[in-house]
């Protein structure tokens, strides 16, 4: 039970590393921003798995707050991308 959860947690962290690879390697700026967006969603999954593993519910609050903050961050980045050329 606990071992399975630990393995799933390690897989999830390895996928975060894949997102970091995309952020470092990505040929253009929008590619890096896609990596940042997906990274923000994956962290919510990590919060869920840790809250099951430790049995503490307050970690889910961190997850909800993380979703909303990463959403605002992505919107700001997207606005920067489109506003750079159109002068909106």
């Amino acid at each position: 039970m606990t071992e399975i959860l630990s393995i799933l947690l390690y897989i999830q962290i390895a996928m975060c590393a894949a997102c970091l690879w995309r952020i470092i390697r990505g040929p253009t700026i929008p590619d890096r921003m896609v990596g940042i967006d997906i990274f923000g969603i994956l962290v919510v999954g990590i919060c869920g798995i840790i809250s099951v593993q430790t049995g503490k519910a307050f970690i889910l609050d961190i997850g909800i707050a993380w979703v909303i903050l990463s959403f605002i961050g992505t919107l700001t980045l997207a606005k920067y991308l489109s506003g750079r050329k159109l002068n909106e």
């Binding site: 999830q12 995309r22 896609v34 959403f71 992505t74």
Partner: protein, 108 residues
């Protein structure tokens, strides 16, 4: 019983996340990457949160996980729209395999 159901749901979620990340690494240009990653990672995280809800039962923690699911759905899709539109206006080229582009005349 509840424990088994929770573990199965969380495993399915991690599997979908894995597909999304393979897509993020393998696909050729930003539009295709965003498609694969947004769909798979959003549904995977929703499945993980559903598993958390099954594990905790319908109490204080369960409702928190249940609230997080629609929030995640709406924010992820709206962020994907904003990102793909910003990338197009930024001038990112589509991949060589692309066959059709109706949006180009509208932008100009």
């Amino acid at each position: 019983m509840n424990e088994m159901a929770a573990i199965v749901l969380i495993s399915v979620g991690v599997l979908f996340n894995l597909f999304g990340c393979i897509g993020l690494i393998r696909l050729p240009d930003i539009y295709n990457r965003l498609q694969a990653a947004t769909k798979c990672v959003t549904l995977g995280c929703c499945s993980i949160l559903l598993g958390v809800m099954v594990h905790f039962g319908l109490g204080s923690a369960g409702f928190r996980a249940l609230i997080a699911i629609p929030v995640l759905f709406f924010t992820a899709t709206v962020a994907a729209h904003a990102l793909v539109r910003g990338a197009y206006h930024f001038g990112t080229k589509m991949d060589k395999k692309s066959v059709k582009d109706d949006y180009r005349e509208t932008v100009k």
